[in-house]
Amino acid sequence: MTRFVAEEEFDEVTKEGFWIADFMTDHCGPCKMLDMVMNEIIFDNPEINLAHCDIEKSPKYCERFGIQGTPTLFFMMDGEIKETMSGAQGREVLEEVISRVMFGE
């Protein structure tokens, strides 16, 4: 499941289960590339939640999390940030992190 999440609702939305928070803007090329990969991951794994966090529509994100560039990903379990990643990545790299955060080593 994918949804757009504003900074004010971020904690409430991501407090339970596994979430990937994708800090992005709608005119960032690498964000679009990452989107294509994420589309496939979410389609194949509907149990994974993806929060699109537009840092231009919600600039407070940058201040709160120190986001330096887009895309930046947070991999979260029950509201806790377990791992972070910057830049567009391939499917295998993303799945490795997802697996680690969802199920442990």
Binding site: F43, P46, E95, S99
Partner: protein, 296 residues
């Protein structure tokens, strides 16, 4: 009229292109129309899938979402409930492969890291796609095309996604090849007039863009505002800091012009207008696209 001379006769583009194609992780072809269609479709329906329990006695298939109970000495495989869509090995490849063909209630054993793991299948769900794709679904994605225009119809969405994927493939090859070429074909000393001209072109470009997009007069900014935007004291300082980029732009343009055989074409004089580098890149992408079309 550009002054810097490219100090090489011919760039051996083929050598670098082939080196990329021989890499293990190389993208060797642009997806076919059918594959592009499927990718775009997945992106559109992914938020509208429903998961329903499969019929009683029905067996699991790859792609189904299964809830397991696992028992073992290994903490990762000793869980009351764990849910995963089987097939990609996000939880464990072998455990998931074995689950295909099993039914709810089935119990099986596998060995992971030399330890026995008992797996009980608690529930099997299968995803169902919506009966049709609609413009409302597209609007929900909040996409904008490269011109900043919202993508609002299924037709526009499919075209947009296909183009994105195609460009991604081409950009991957180009990034690899150009990175190597810029090292192996250095242009040590670009002409100062060329660099100055590129700086002027960029100045015009930024002044216009900031004005049109953000309503900002870059010359009216305070020192503090300039620091916030560019981490330097003024717009002129910002341009000055980009000197290395102007040198690289000269080199990139010269390399592209050489590869494309456009060295004598005045339309691709990079001191004449700002967009030359992008135009050269798009021409190279067009050449790559032909090369990387699926032959089957």
């Amino acid at each position: 009229m550009l002054k810097t001379k490219f100090p090489y006769e011919k760039v051996d583009y083929e050598k670098y292109f082939q080196a990329y194609m021989e890499r293990e992780d190389a993208i060797r072809s642009i997806p076919t129309e059918a594959e592009l269609e499927e990718l775009a479709h997945k992106g559109l329906v992914k938020d509208h899938l429903t998961l329903s329990a499969i019929g009683e006695g029905e067996a699991a298939q790859t792609g189904d979402t299964i809830t397991f109970k696992t028992e073992s000495e290994l903490p990762k495989f000793n869980k009351e409930k764990v849910t995963v869509s089987i097939g990609r090995g996000l939880y464990n490849k072998e455990l998931e492969t074995e689950a295909a063909g099993k039914k709810a209630g089935d119990v099986y054993q596998i060995t992971i890291q030399d330890k026995p793991v008992t797996v009980t299948i608690l529930e099997i769900k299968r995803k169902q796609e919506p009966a049709e794709v609609t413009d409302e679904m597209v609007v929900g994605l909040q996409l904008k095309d490269d011109g900043g225009k919202p993508v609002t119809t299924v037709e526009a969405y499919m075209a947009f996604m296909k183009e994105q994927k195609k460009m991604e493939c081409l950009a991957n090859v180009n990034y690899y090849v150009m990175e190597k070429l810029l090292v192996d074909y250095p242009v040590a000393d670009p002409d100062q007039e060329d660099l100055q001209r590129l700086k002027e072109l960029e100045k015009e470009f930024f002044v216009k863009i900031y004005k049109e997009h953000d309503g900002i007069d870059v010359y009216a900014l305070s020192q503090e505002q300039a620091r916030e935007m560019w981490q330097c004291d003024s717009f002129d300082d910002f341009l000055e800091l980009r000197n290395e980029w102007y040198k690289m732009k000269v080199q990139q343009c010269l390399v592209y012009r050489n590869i494309l055989g456009l060295e004598d074409d005045p339309a691709y004089d990079y001191t004449d207008h700002y967009e030359v580098l992008s135009e050269l890149q798009m021409k190279l992408f067009a050449m790559l696209e032909e090369r990387m079309k699926r032959k089957d």
